[in-house]
Symmetry: C2
Subunit: 92 residues, 2 copies
């Protein structure tokens, strides 16, 4: 049983991390290809994806699949990386 719990937790974290990476990739592609990174749609798309991920993380925490602090770290880390990409694109 202990093994089952650990496996589920690993799977949950891996799924959520993959979701976060997908958002990062999407934004990266947008940044590389858009002539206008200040496009309001960018903010809206990003907000929607971040909200969706936060809901999945929230559910995983309530299911005791991941620790609350790990979920928070996942979101914070994604946000930091997105800010970094955004700043870099502004300097172009």
């Amino acid at each position: 049983m202990q093994e089952t719990v650990i496996t589920s937790a690993n799977k949950a974290y891996a799924l959520l991390k993959a979701d976060a990476d997908k958002i990062l990739k999407l934004i990266q592609v947008q940044m590389d290809n858009l002539t206008m990174p200040q496009c309001p749609l960018y903010e809206e798309v990003l907000d929607t994806h971040m909200f969706g991920l936060s809901k999945s993380i929230d559910f995983a925490v309530r299911m005791d699949l991941i620790e609350e602090q790990d979920g928070k770290a996942l979101l914070d880390n994604l946000e930091k990386q997105l800010n970094f990409i955004h700043e870099k694109s502004q300097q172009k």
Copy 2:
């Protein structure tokens, strides 16, 4: 181990069902108290909540915690109930 899986599935479904009920309750309260149920904010709030719930359900399905058809039924059922409430409020 079988027992653990069943318990997790029950918990997952109960959590998602409670989320759906919360959305229904929120909309019901809004309908009962708002003078303008056609307010655009109503649609936006509802969309956001539905999207959040669909993301949690999606995650639960990917974690094999609930069946895809059960998740879909949960969302469809909520939508039907919301439409019913909405129609009723229009007839007032």
